[in-house]
Symmetry: C3
């Protein structure tokens, strides 16, 4: 077992697989996990089932939302919460199926932060008469939407710890809708872990 000075946690070696139970505060619920090796579990099929890697995948449809940044953590948890609880340790991957919206992680409390972020995006990506875009067939908001999508990205990967998304206290999942016309948006969620 190693104890690292700069860290609040211990990181157990694979030689001795041990589950560290959640005695820390919620934000840092589990500091160290290793899968029990199948070879050490062959004698106990219940343990093996617990430690076996699992995959889950689902397509979520988010309802149409106005242009701007929206906190969607509750919507996502409503869709995947009960499935997350099957994972002690893992990763949740969210993948937006669109090129004119984006997913990002940011502040979950003050809606002004979301409004200011939308203000920033509109300030930095020119739109309308002053914009130099060639791609204008789908409206003045379309090319700016594509650019904003690449700036923030269309995918997120979030750690899973003890059955929950392991985000910071002030972190939330945002869907940023970059088009003027609200459209339903599809997100492929992939869960992987033990």
């Amino acid at each position: 077992m190693q104890v690292q000075a700069a860290s609040s946690s211990v990181f157990l070696s694979a030689a001795k697989p041990v589950w560290v139970s959640a005695s820390a505060p919620p934000v840092v619920r589990v500091n160290s996990l290793y899968t029990a090796k199948p070879s050490s579990l062959n004698s106990d099929s219940n343990s093996m089932a617990t430690a076996a890697p699992k995959w889950a995948q689902k397509t979520i449809t988010l309802p149409p939302q106005r242009r701007g940044c929206h906190l969607i953590t509750p919507k996502i948890l409503n869709e995947i919460g009960s499935d997350l609880s099957e994972f002690k340790c893992g990763l949740a991957h969210l993948f937006l199926h669109h090129t004119s919206a984006s997913l990002t992680i940011n502040e979950n409390y003050d809606s002004d932060v979301r409004d200011d972020t939308e203000t920033f995006l509109n300030k930095i990506v020119p739109e309308g008469r002053s914009a130099p875009w060639k791609h204008t067939l789908e409206g003045p908001d379309d090319m700016p939407a594509h650019i904003k999508s690449s700036m923030f990205g269309c995918a997120l990967t979030i750690p899973i710890t003890n059955g929950k998304l392991n985000m910071g206290t002030w972190q939330g999942i945002w869907l940023c809708e970059h088009r003027d016309h609200p459209t339903a948006r599809k997100v492929v969620v992939t869960l992987n872990g033990i």
Copy 2:
């Protein structure tokens, strides 16, 4: 089994592992997957082999391309397509080995979108005499290239569903070359799934 109202899909609980076959349109090919648990598969070694987690990793070399944004989905699929077909459900991770180019997902149809994105990047990151950069030894396009690389990022994670990259109809993989001089670029592709 749970049916969630806001979703077009069912998400099956781990208690009853079931493969949902692809009756939906191509974009949403599979809505819900869970690995069969090894414990329930011990009696059938063929099924176990199918459900066992697999990892694949490969370094791809992309040919030199001119400064700008390039659609590389066909090149990537040419390299990994037959390997992807081994995965029912999983994630594909692409990692560019460079700090003056980037990977992003955006529109796959109109090349004007790629040209306009290059226009945007050049507009937002100053280059040449007006630029305030200290790092200029490698040429006027070098420091702007580093900044653009962090703006769009050097890595992508894309869901795999039924042996294919599960992207939206209009999504494609772009390599954005930020240097003036075309250079071959290396991408480490890691596939993980069942």
Copy 3:
């Protein structure tokens, strides 16, 4: 076995799981890996243990740093290096628990690149009297910090090959501190592989 023309590597099919040993230069240490299938390993419990998927998760606390971009590869490796060595092939995921700092991958050699990137971020995101933000309660540097966090992102996924992070020669992990007041920052590291 397939040999792909545009690539320097071979990508072995799942039918014949083979470990390719590291004869290539360090940057491209392993070109192709596939997990040995459990079904083919049942007769040899030692091999099975080696090939069994492993998960590790740990929360690292990074010491307070001044506003700007900081190379943290050595700090991260100091925390996870011995654990990385347990993985032949996999992915390392780093997730920052904050909304006013970011993680990115960029140049690891010349500190001017980090200074210039900070210059860019301050140039592009207005701060102080000229800024249009509504969210100002936590100081003039707070809203700009949130925006910068979404621009660069709070998470990284890096391939693991032969027990090491498989990054390019010039790539390093940066923590970008966007607040004026230095604060300790938490990073959840999740390792997954074989």
